[in-house]
C-alpha cells in the first residue's frame, strides 16, 4: 500500500464489458454459421471469412492512419459487423464485392460517425443495401441448397421463396424446410431454428431483451395474418412470412443492435412494430421482394426521435395501480 486510491462511489463493478457482450453475440451467431455452411457449402465460409477480415482490417487501418487514435478492433464489434454483413449476402458473391461491402459498412456507416456507439444506422445493413443497389444482379442471384457443397462462384442458382411470390409463381418449399433452412437465400438468413437458438442464448446471457425480436415477429404475424385471412389467394401465409427472407436474422440480430435501437421497453415496441409493418408493406407492395433491411434502416432513423419522446417509467411519476 503505497498510496490509497480515491474515487467516487460506487467502488465495485458488475464485471460486464463491451467485449463480453460482443463476443456473446458472436457465440450466438455460431449455429447460423454452421447451418449456412451445411446448406451452401464452402462459399458461405469464403464470404464470411472475407467479410470479417475486411471489416476488421478496414477498422484497423482507419483507426491507425486516419483517426490516429486507439485501436479497438478487439472489442468484437467489427467482427460482428463482418459476420452480419456476410449473413446478408448470397454465398456465391465474388470476394471483391464483399470487400467493397465491408468498406462501406465500416468506413462509411461506422467509422465516419465516430466508431462504435455513434453510428446512427446499422453498419452491416448499410453495406448490404449499398451492394444491393450497386450490384443488383449479383445480389439477387441466389445459390440453391446443396449440402456441404464445394462450389463457390460456380454454384447453381435459383429463386428465393419471396422472389417466387413476387413473380406470382407457386411456392414449392415446405414450412419444415423453411424452418430448418433448406431454401435459397442470403447465406445466414435461411435457418430459422439456428437463429432462434442464437436468440435463446442471448436472452439467457441477458445480452439483449426480448422486446425487439418479439415485437417485430408478432407484428409481422398479425399484419400478414390479417391480410392472409382476407385474401389467402393473393397474400402468403404469416408462417411463410416469418420463416422466409431475412426476417429472423433481422429481428434477432440486426434490429437488436444496441447502438441503433431505442433505449426503453416502450420505445423498443414502437421500433419493433414499425419494422414489422414496413417489412410486410415492402414485401407485399414494394419494388423489392425483401424489405427487412430497408425496414430496419428506416426505423434506425427514427430511433433518436423515439428516445427523445419515449421516457422510461419514472419512479413516483404517477400513482401506480395499487397506490391508494
Amino acid at each position: 500500500m503505497e498510496k490509497l486510491i480515491i474515487s467516487p462511489a460506487p467502488h465495485i463493478h458488475g464485471g460486464d464489458s463491451v467485449r463480453k457482450n460482443m463476443y456473446g453475440v458472436l457465440i450466438a451467431l455460431i449455429p447460423a454459421l454452421l447451418a449456412s455452411f451445411y446448406f451452401f457449402g464452402i462459399g458461405a465460409l469464403i464470404v464470411t471469412l472475407t467479410s470479417v477480415v475486411a471489416c476488421v482490417l478496414f477498422e484497423y487501418l482507419i483507426q491507425r492512419f486516419i483517426l490516429k487514435g486507439s485501436i479497438t478492433i478487439f472489442d468484437g464489434s467489427a467482427i460482428i459487423t463482418g459476420v452480419l454483413l456476410a449473413f446478408n449476402l448470397p454465398s456465391n458473391l465474388p470476394i471483391w464485392m464483399v470487400v467493397i461491402g465491408a468498406l462501406v459498412a465500416i468506413g462509411i456507416a461506422k467509422m465516419s460517425f465516430g466508431g462504435l456507439g455513434n453510428n446512427p444506422f446499422n453498419p452491416a445493413l448499410i453495406g448490404r443495401v449499398f451492394l444491393l443497389i450497386s450490384f443488383p444482379v449479383a445480389m439477387t442471384t441466389w445459390p440453391v441448397v446443396e449440402p456441404l457443397s464445394m462450389k463457390y462462384l460456380d454454384a447453381e442458382t435459383g429463386a428465393t421463396v419471396l422472389a417466387a411470390m413476387k413473380e406470382g409463381s407457386a411456392i414449392t418449399v415446405s414450412h419444415l424446410d423453411m424452418f430448418l433452412g433448406k431454401m435459397g437465400g442470403s447465406l445466414g438468413e435461411v435457418s430459422a431454428i439456428a437463429l432462434l437458438i442464437g436468440l435463446a442464448y442471448m436472452l439467457i446471457r441477458k445480452i439483449i431483451t426480448w422486446h425487439i425480436p418479439v415485437s417485430i415477429l408478432l407484428t409481422v404475424a398479425v399484419f400478414s395474418g390479417i391480410m392472409h385471412a382476407v385474401n389467402p389467394e393473393m397474400y402468403i401465409s404469416p408462417l411463410t412470412h416469418l420463416l422466409t427472407g431475412g426476417l429472423m436474422l433481422g429481428a434477432i440480430f440486426m434490429a437488436t443492435d444496441y447502438v441503433t435501437s431505442p433505449m426503453t421497453p416502450k420505445g423498443m415496441w414502437i421500433y419493433g412494430v414499425g419494422i414489422g409493418i414496413l417489412t410486410v408493406v415492402i414485401r407485399t407492395w414494394g419494388a423489392y421482394p425483401e424489405g427487412v433491411s430497408f425496414a430496419i434502416l428506416i426505423m434506425n432513423g427514427f430511433t433518436p426521435l423515439i428516445n427523445f419522446y419515449i421516457k422510461p417509467r419514472r419512479f413516483g411519476a404517477k400513482q401506480l395501480k395499487n397506490n391508494k
Partner: protein, 443 residues
Amino acid sequence: MKSFRIGGIHPKENKFSAGAAIQQADIPATVAIPLAHYIGNPSEAIVKRGDTVKVGQQIGAGSGFISANVHASVSGTVRKIDVQLDASGYRRPAVFIEVEDDEWLETIDRTPDIVRGCSLGKEEIIQKIKDAGIVGLGGATFPAHVKLMPPPGKKAEYLIINGVECEPYLTCDHRLMMEHGEEILIGTTILMKALGVDKAIVGIENNKPDAIEHLTRLATTFLGITIQPLKVQYPQGGEKQLIDAVLRRQVPSGKIPIEIGAVVFNVATTFAVYEAVQKNKPMIDRVMTITGKDAPNASNYRVRLGTYLSHVVEQAGGIPEGTGKIVGGGPMMGRSLMNLDVPMAKGSAGVLFMRDDESIRKPSQNCIRCAKCVSTCPMGLEPYLLMAYCERNMWDELESNRTMDCIECGSCNYTCPSHRPLLDYIRFGKSTVGNIIRNRNNK
C-alpha cells in the same frame, strides 16, 4: 417475495462479518467528536478548552431546525475546538477530548436490563430523542426528531423500520437485529407512539433469514409490528425503494415520504431511540463493520463517536496487505478515504478494505447504448442521457429529465459495460441544477 418495482441490481453480497458478534472497541486516548452533520447546520460547541466532561454530557447544541445535539462519548478534558478532516473529505469543526477514565453521567442506565414499559407521552418522547442528538444512522444522518414532527396537514400512517442493509459487506444492522432485537422492537413501539401510528413494518432482506426469524418470533408479543422479508436486490434499503416494496406506494418526485403517509427509521436509529428514551443514553456510540476480502478479522465493533478509524482498525488486525482503497461505508455508496486519521461520525457504518486490483476503475469507452443503465435505474431515469447532458452543460434538459430524482445508488456505474462514469457526471449535474433551482426560487 416483495421488492421495489423499478430497476435494481444484485451485487455480490460478501457479508463476511455476518456471524461476528458485536465487540466493544477500546476507548482511545483522544477523540475528535465532529460537530458537523452530513445534512443541516453544524452544532455549536457549548464547552470550551479546559472543561472536564463526562460520558453523555452535552458538548454541542443543535442550531436551527435541521440540526442535532452532540454529546461527549468519553470522559476527560476538552483540549481544543478545531477543524478536523472528516470521513467525507471536508475540514469541519470538532471537539477534541483527551480521555481520562470512563466516567458516565449518573442519569444514564448502564445496566444490561431491558426496560420494556414506556409511560411517556408523544411530546416527551420527541423531546428526549431531540435532547439525545439522535440522527438517522442509515447514511443521511437526518435528525430523528424532525422526522417525528410531520409538517402541518400531513399525517403518518405507517412506520417503516429499515433493516434491509442492502450494501454489500456491511453487517452492523444485521448484528444489531440479532443481538438487540427486543430493544429494536421496543424502540419501534416508542416511535409508533411518537408518530401516533398503530402499524409498523420492519423490512429485512432475505439474505438474513436468522434475523427475520428472530424478529418474527419476538414481534408476536408486540402489537402492530410486522416483519417483512424482502428480495435481495440493491438498493432495497433506499428509503423510497423500501416504501415502494412494503407499501406499494411511490413517493412523488421531489416529495418526502410523509406525503404518502410513511416515515422510515433505520434499525440502528431505532435502537438508539430505545437507548435514549428507556436508558437515558444520548447518542455516543454506534456499531460499525470492519471488513474486506483480505481483512484479518471481518468484525463488528461498537465504537465511541470521535474515535479515529485508525484506532478501531488496529484493534481489528490492521490494514491488510495489498489494500488499494479504503472505503468509509459500503462499496456502493461509501466514500474512499485518504487515510484512517478521520474520526468516526454518527453516519459511519463501516470501513471496507479493497484490494489493489479491484480499486482501480477500468478506462471508460464509448456508450454503446445497450440501455442497461436505463433498465437498472431504480428511479426510472436515463443515466446515459443525463451524463451526455452534463458533458454538454445542458442544465435545462437535465432538470426536465428529472436528474434531481437521482438517489446516487450507483447501479448505473455498476452495470455499465463501457465503464462510463455515469454517476460522477450526474452528481455534478445535480449540484449545478440544484444551485440553479435555488437561485430561481430565491428571486
